[in-house]
């Protein structure tokens, strides 16, 4: 399909970008979500603001020992960054298991957390979809819903959030830095991506015209071991059926901090608080990993074609706890 017409401007600084956005423009970063959806006519912006020239391309360690990733850092750059690799392997791994090398060279961190669902009905403008067209219904509820969510769903929408690095950000309790006409604000990652409820078309807690400037990961006690496991229909270049981001801090043989989240299963990246609570204060063991992972699918509501997901999710979490925490 041919996209609808749009005007195009290049912003040379953040002020210019915000001004253009106030006049109704839409930011374009790597363009790998937006151009794709414009071609499907799912997105029809009338004016694009190219933000790729803005100085938001730095990865740096914060004073406390956390990490700040600029919104325009490419996925490939973030994954290869020595600080990211050293401090949070789970971030580098989740990025390297995303999309393809070409897409990672183009796509940005800000765009990644803003990416839209891969639900096929959402992408097909002839299908009913509450997210695309509020009130039209949800074709996935009784349709092909094998890849859809089992957690955080509503009667209005059961689509997953497809981002991998967002699962790592959710696990590590990152913060999204935003810049708007009224200045800066920070939103905890857990509040940034919204569950569908009765308003699935509202996906992020971002206000009209606001610009993401960075994602910040807080410092965590060291030593910290972390990693990402992604389970999918083919070995590479595919979205997750299930995934698990795990970070563990073990001292004197006891787990002091556990950060765990799952992907491919929730309408937003799914923080596994119950699993985390089960781990903290305990000694690593195969039995502990199994018992904790057994809680990963609590509250799951499978659909007709994804009844396999709760069990797959538990096994994914258990395996990644073993990989990161050791067999013992």
């Amino acid at each position: 399909m041919r996209p609808s017409c749009f005007s195009y401007t290049r912003a040379s600084d953040t002020r210019e970008a915000l001004d253009a956005a106030r006049r109704g423009g839409r930011y374009i970063a790597g363009g790998t979500t937006l151009v794709d959806l414009m071609r499907e006519t799912v997105e029809r912006p009338e004016s694009l603001i190219d933000i790729s020239g803005l100085p938001l391309r730095e990865v740096r360690a914060t004073e406390g020992g956390g990490l700040r990733i600029g919104a325009l850092v490419r996925m490939a750059e973030a994954a290869a960054h020595p600080k990211a690799r050293a401090l949070y392997p789970v971030i580098a791994e989740s990025l390297e298991l995303s999309a393809s090398a070409q897409l990672r060279n183009m796509a940005t961190i800000g765009g990644n957390i803003m990416q839209r669902t891969r639900c096929t009905y959402f992408r097909d403008v002839t299908a009913d979809c509450n997210k695309r067209e509020p009130g039209s219904g949800c074709a996935a509820l009784k349709g092909h819903n094998r890849t859809h969510a089992i957690l955080g769903t509503s009667d209005a929408c059961v689509a997953t959030h497809p981002s991998d690095v967002s699962v790592a950000f959710a696990a590590l309790e990152a913060t999204v830095h935003l810049l708007g006409p009224d200045g800066e604000r920070r939103v905890p990652f857990a509040d940034f991506l919204l569950r569908p409820g009765s308003t699935p078309h509202r996906e992020q807690a971002i206000r009209q015209g606001e610009l993401i400037t960075a994602v910040e990961i807080p410092a965590l006690p060291r030593p910290l071991k972390s990693g990402y496991l992604k389970v999918r229909d083919r070995q590479s270049y595919e979205f997750a059926l299930t995934s698990a981001a795990v970070a563990l801090h073990v001292r004197h043989g006891v787990i002091r901090e556990a950060k765990v989240a799952a992907g491919g299963v929730g309408t937003v990246p799914w923080k596994l608080t119950t699993v985390e609570r089960h781990l903290v204060g305990e000694r690593p063991s195969a039995a502990l990993w199994a018992a904790a992972a057994d809680k990963a699918a609590d509250g799951a509501q499978p659909l007709q074609y994804n009844r396999f997901k709760p069990e797959l999710l538990k096994r994914t979490v258990e395996r990644q706890l073993r990989v990161v925490g050791g067999m013992k």
Partner: protein, 214 residues
């Protein structure tokens, strides 16, 4: 090399628009050059002019952009909706880069933008001011094939050849990025290029062979 061309570019031709359907002749010309080694020259004209009446009625927003393609400077005014892939294929006549999915999901359109492999189908041409684009047509050094082009021939790493230009451009990127330490690593870092004919084993071998030579 410094050939320069300045031209105005009509709205993008889309395959679902019957007026822009490639003729049998252009299709054959597109697919016979193995790995796109043959260089198609000049700007493709009339047959790709689509919706010209519609365009005249309400000119869609267009922008001027200046970029280098295979070393040659090109200044064009493009409809803002034009992808880099359509600019190359339909306006510059560089049909080596292929359109498989037009959605970032196959890699057939892979080119280098400022030395990095990108999907040309998801790249808006208007964004490429000052960029340096290398396509399969620009890879050989005169009559001498790029080592990876030669390796694809030596290893017989294709059947129909449709994915091949994208595979080769992606392979050049992969080697440059240094992700060639093992066949497994090459497979993972080349996974953005689908081969419907299933030539993966030989593609990996060609990349491995070329990387090993450096």
């Amino acid at each position: 090399m410094s050939s320069e061309s300045v031209s105005a570019v009509p709205p993008p031709a889309e395959p679902d628009d019957p007026s822009s359907a490639p003729t049998r002749r252009t299709f054959i010309a597109t697919t016979t050059a193995v790995g796109g080694v043959a260089v198609a020259g000049g700007v493709v004209g009339g047959s790709f002019l689509v919706g010209s009446e519609e365009a005249a009625a309400a000119a869609p927003p267009a922008s001027r952009v200046s970029l280098r393609v295979n070393g040659a400077r090109r200044t064009v005014t493009v409809d803002n909706r034009t992808s880099l892939l359509d600019l190359l294929r339909e306006h510059f006549g560089l049909t080596g880069s292929k359109k498989g999915c037009n959605a970032g999901a196959c890699g057939a359109c892979t080119v280098l933008v400022d030395g990095q492999r990108h999907n040309a189908c998801l790249t808006l041409a208007v964004r490429l001011e000052g960029a340096e684009v290398t396509t399969i047509e620009g890879l050989a050094d005169g009559d001498e094939l790029h080592p990876l082009q030669q390796a694809f021939i030596d290893e017989d790493a294709f059947q129909c050849g449709y994915c091949t230009p994208g595979q080769i451009m992606s392979g050049v990127g992969c080697i440059k990025e240094g992700h060639t330490d093992s066949p497994e690593e090459i497979r993972e870092w080349m996974s953005g290029n689908i081969c419907r004919c299933g030539c993966y084993v030989k593609i990996v071998r060609a990349v491995e062979q070329t990387a090993g030579r450096k």
